[in-house]
Amino acid sequence: MSQNSHPTPLLYFVIVMCLFVGTVVTYKAATIDMGIWNPIVALAIACTKAVLVVLFFMHVRYSDKLTKVTVVAGFFWLMILITLSLSDYIGRGFQVAP
């Protein structure tokens, strides 16, 4: 990563403001009854915030391909763990009684 491509304090400030707004929005969204959508909205906002942190605060946007692949690999493996173990529990609900 070369120096000139690093983000500026202004950009950091914009990001942190986005994160603050995101936090407030999550908090407010949780008080509105959206049924099944509540956790989805909450997680979607959390993911967006996390992506902002990863891309800018952690400089992944300005990093080489290897770092990007590493980050993606991490989330890929996390998803393997979560989806495959969760699928067993959800799958038990699909079982047809004899």
């Binding site: 942190v16 008080t31 493996w77 996390l78």
Partner: protein, 239 residues
């Protein structure tokens, strides 16, 4: 030197992958149980003070900002700003842990610590005595809450749900505890970085340790960004 720096940064990323999977094990178990014991999750989550969690989220995001600025200052070779931002990050980090402590203390007073840790047994239905008054009766709160929003539930159901919040609290403490443990380590790292920075060890050419500390700190921040909605905001629609 360039190769070594690249190696360190990449090494940190690989380490963060490990950390991610460590939290991942907890997240996966958390999600499975959340499906299974939704009512208990709701009741347990509602008994935590969401305001502290909200403030803590802002505090930690703020600390991530100061950390990013510290890396920026290090890169610029500005020693004073760098030390200032590092200290700012430490103060915010310490504030986070302090607030976490207040929350833990409240849970301790309410007998919401699962199992038999530190002398008090878990008790979520019927409440427990603290300072001469009964607190932490999740069963009662749950009944009132349900009566308000859906339909009344019988005491037996509320009691059972309250008992099941023990699993929720196991995860609450395991997840926030592991996170807080990372924060403590992070604070130690920051202290060390501040010391080195004040000695003027970092420059625009060499600031890898600050950068690595930053990566670690941001990762801890990301974990909290997920913990906040998952633990505090399960059902706040009528709180």
């Amino acid at each position: 030197m360039e190769q070594q720096k690249g190696a360190s940064t990449f090494g940190m990323w690989v380490f963060l992958l490990t950390e991610l999977m460590m939290f991942g094990g907890l997240f996966a178990s958390y999600l499975i149980y959340r499906l299974k014991f939704y009512a208990a999750w709701e009741a347990g989550s509602s008994s935590i003070d969401v305001h502290w969690g909200f403030i803590n989220t802002l505090v930690l995001i703020g600390s991530s900002f100061t950390m990013a600025m510290a890396v920026w200052a290090a890169q610029k070779g500005d020693k004073n700003k760098q030390v200032m931002f590092l200290i700012g990050t430490m103060i915010l980090g310490a504030a986070f842990l302090g607030i976490k402590g207040i929350e833990y203390k409240a849970k301790y007073d309410e007998c919401h610590i699962p199992g038999h840790i530190i002398g008090k047994a878990f008790n979520a239905s019927g409440g427990c005595m603290a300072d001469g008054k009964v607190t932490g009766d999740i069963a009662k709160e749950f009944m009132e809450h349900q009566a308000e929003i859906h339909k009344p539930v019988p005491e037996a159901f509320a009691k059972q749900t309250a008992d099941q919040t023990q699993i929720f609290f196991s995860f609450y403490f395991a997840m926030t505890g592991l996170h807080a443990f990372h924060m403590v380590i992070g604070l130690g790292l920051l202290g060390w970085l501040t010391l080195r920075a004040s000695r003027g060890e970092f420059s625009g050419q060499y600031f890898t340790p600050v950068e690595l500390g930053g990566l670690y700190w941001h990762f801890v921040d990301i974990v909290w960004i997920f913990l906040f909605p998952l633990l505090y905001l399960i059902n706040r629609t009528h709180g």
